[in-house]
Every structure is written in C-alpha cells, then in structure tokens.
C-alpha cells in the first residue's frame, strides 16, 4: 500500500512537477483553441458537402469523411509529422498536430453536423426560400441554428473527445500536458506526474461528461 502511494501519489514529486505540468496544460489549451474551431469549421463544410444536392460535391464529401473516420488519428499525425518531410514538407509539431487534427475532427464534427442538417425538415427551407431569403441566408438564419441545437450534446461530447485526443500530440514531443507529465515521470522514475495529469484531465472533463449523461437521461425519460 505504501509503495502504491509512493509510486502514484507522491506529493513531493507532484509539487516538483507542478510548474512543468502547468506549462503543459497551457499548451494543451492552446492546441484546443486551435483545433476545436478549425474542426467545427471543417466539419460544417464537410456536412454541407455531404448533404449537398450536387453529386460531385456529395460523393467526395462523404468519401473524405469516411476515409478520415477510418484512419486512427495517431496514424494521421505520424504520417503528417514523419511522412511528409520525405516529400519536402516539413511541419513544426504544432502545425502537424493542427493539420492532423483538422482532418480527423472535420470528419467527426462533419458527421454530427450532417445529422443536424438532416434533422431540420425541408419545410423550414421551403418557408424561408418562399419569403425570398437566399440559400445562404436560409442556412445561416434558419437551418444552422436549429441543426446545431438538435445535435448540441453530440457536438459537446465530440469536443470532449478532441480535448482527450490532444494527448496524442505528446508523441510528436509537443510539450502539452501528457508530454510534460511523461517527461517528469522519466526523470523522477515515478508515475505520480502522470497521476497528476490524469487528475487535471479529470477536473477539466468530468463535469462535462456528467452533464452530458444527465442531459441524455432527460431525453430518455
């Protein structure tokens, strides 16, 4: 038991690792600030393409979404970070993470937005167009607000996944939370910094996870 506490909950080591982890957390938040908006935007575009009436937009849209849903994000990241330099495209870790996450997130957010767009009935578009609103105005003022609201829980739950996923940036030495914790682990030969990182993730995401469960229950009953 003592050994367990010593190994996973060592207070001294945690205190020593704290500044490092804080910097790592900053980087995690920075990555999130970049990849979440980008992913939402890409997802929206993917959803518009894959629900388009034009086959030349719809099929490539769906194919891309499916392709990037089939590829593990880590494979994508390593391909972008370690593969592209062979073609003379050398990206910084941050840029590589942004590109890989953009592709992966766009596919996942895209599927969610797609469901949202479909959930808004044709009648809404008919009504809006019959008053002279343009297709774009109809999308922005009538369809999107409803679509977003209908899939809000899914959007939030996917965002939780994105935040968790930023931990794989540690593989390309991005210096985010998990990387910082793992560095601290390797110098201290002690897992407590990892426990601490886990605690930080838990503090950030647990309330959201709980809220989502609550919300789902409300729908179910």
């Amino acid at each position: 038991m003592d050994q367990l506490i010593q190994q996973f909950f060592n207070w001294d080591i945690m205190m020593r690792a704290w500044p490092m982890l804080l910097r790592g957390l900053g980087m995690t938040l920075l990555i999130c600030a970049a990849v979440i908006p980008l992913g939402l935007l890409g997802g929206l575009l993917a959803a518009l393409a894959s629900t388009s009436a034009r086959p030349w937009l719809r099929w490539p849209g769906m194919a891309l979404v499916d392709l990037f849903r089939a590829l593990p994000p880590l494979v994508l990241l390593i391909f972008v970070y370690a593969g592209l330099p062979f073609a003379g495209i050398r990206l910084s870790p941050f840029a590589a993470v942004t590109v890989a996450f953009f592709l992966n997130n766009s596919a996942y957010y895209g599927e969610i937005f797609r469901a949202g767009l479909i959930s808004v009935g044709q009648g809404q578009t008919d009504a809006a167009r019959s008053t002279g609103l343009t297709a774009r105005q109809t999308l922005i003022h009538v369809v999107l607000p409803q679509a977003t609201r209908n899939v809000l829980p899914d959007l939030i739950s996917n965002t939780v996944e994105v935040v968790k996923l930023t931990s794989i940036a540690s593989v390309v030495s991005m210096g985010e939370l998990l990387h910082a914790a793992d560095l601290a682990r390797s110098v201290t030969y002690n897992a407590s910094p990892l426990t601490m990182a886990a605690g930080i993730y838990l503090l950030m995401l647990w309330p959201v996870v709980r809220l989502l469960s609550r919300y789902q229950r409300q729908i179910a009953v």
Binding site: D66, L74, L84, A87, A181, W206
Partner: protein, 227 residues
C-alpha cells in the same frame, strides 16, 4: 526524375513496400486480434454493468457511475502510460499488449455501459409493467424483454464508439505493442522512406472503412430511435 516519380518513389516505393510488407502484415494481425478482443470484452463489460445498474442498488450504481465517468473523461493514452510505467514499480508487471488491451477494454466498457444504460432507461416503462404480472421476475424481464429492445437502440452509437476505440490500438505503438503503426514507424526509420507509413495508412483504411460504412448504414436504418 519528375515530381510524380519522386512522389511515388517516396510514398509508394515498390522495393520498400515489398521488403516490409510481411512486417506490417504481422502488425495487422496484432491490431485485428486486439480489436476483436477489445470489442468483445468491452461490450460485454459495459452491458453487464448496465444490467447490474438496473437493479438500482445505490452504492453499487454509484461505483459503476464513477468508473464510467472516469474512463470517459480520461484520455486513454494517459491511462496507458500510467499503467505501463507505474504498475511494474508496485510489483504488477503486465506486457504492453496486456496493458493496451486492459485500458481500451475498460474505456469501451465505460462508454458501452452509458450507452446500454441509456437504452435500458429509454425502453418504455410500460414494457416493464407489462412483463412483470405475467410472472417474469426482474432478471427475466431485464434479459428477455428490456435488453432485446435496448440492443436495437444502442447498436448504432455502440458501433461508432467501438470503431473509435479500436482505432486507438494504434496508441500501443507508444509502449511498444507491435501493431501496424509500430511496424510501420520501425520500417520507416530503417528504410529511410515513407512508403511503410503509406502502407500502414492503407491497412487501417482497409480494416476500418467497412465498419465506418456499416455504421453509417446502421445509423440510417435505426434512425427512428436516437439515443
């Protein structure tokens, strides 16, 4: 050499592909094995816990909820590193394969528990009430009446989640599980050529794309009831 030739030489180099294809194929086997185990064990675990929760024994339910929350909120990679590097020092030595399996199974179990539980609570209360007076016990009602209906509702979200989590087997690379990605990165550094990574990407797409398409089909088929 034209740009296209250079591109092919870098990403689709025949000699390199031929040389390392067997390694990557071995990786495919590892990935498939892990994925199948994780899906079976994770789904079973989640379903079992959701059923236990249906008995509404407060302290037990509480523990299940805590477990499900924690494993849904934590990045699997954190848990993988924690288990792989932490456990040996307290005398528990697991292979990297076992660690990866255990963590992803627990992660899928957490999500599956939430999904199946949502399915159970969504099943019409009337179903419970209709079944009980016919002499069915609680457990029988749960197993024979409620679960079969819940399963229909939970299959689409569960499929999506299972795909997302089995794809995470690629994380095993970090702790040295000889899966597709691991074989590919090793081959890439030996050969100094990106073709093994291309091959790995192709392997993942071939493995997972059918399931992605299946999940799309399931979603449209079961669209009548969303969780």
């Amino acid at each position: 050499m034209s740009d296209l030739d250079r591109f092919i030489d870098t990403f689709l180099n025949g000699a390199v592909l031929a040389r390392y294809a067997p390694d990557i194929l071995r990786g495919v086997w590892v990935t498939v094995e892990l994925s199948v185990l994780i899906v079976i064990a994770g789904t079973a675990l989640g379903t079992l816990l959701a059923c236990i929760r249906a008995y509404r024994i407060a302290p037990v339910s509480f523990l299940i909820v805590v477990y499900a929350d924690v494993f849904r909120a934590l990045p699997p990679l954190v848990l993988i590193l924690l288990a792989y590097f932490g456990l040996p020092n307290v005398g528990v030595s697991l292979s990297s394969f076992a660690v990866l399996f255990a963590i992803l199974c627990l992660t899928l179990g957490a999500f599956a528990e939430e999904i199946v539980w949502a399915g159970i609570t969504a099943t019409d209360r009337g179903q419970w009430e209709a079944a009980r007076p016919t002499g069915l016990g609680f457990t029988q009602t749960l197993v024979h009446v409620v679960l079969p209906q819940a399963v229909r509702m939970v299959i689409p979200p569960l499929t999506n989640r299972a795909i997302a989590i089995t794809k995470m087997t690629a994380l095993g690379t970090v702790i040295g599980v000889p899966d597709i990605l691991n074989q590919a990165t090793t081959a890439q550094s030996f050969s100094g050529n990106a073709s093994p990574l291309t091959l790995a990407a192709v392997a993942y797409v071939v493995l997972f794309l059918p399931f992605v398409i299946l999940s799309r089909w399931l979603e449209s088929r079961f669209a009548w009831r969303k969780i």
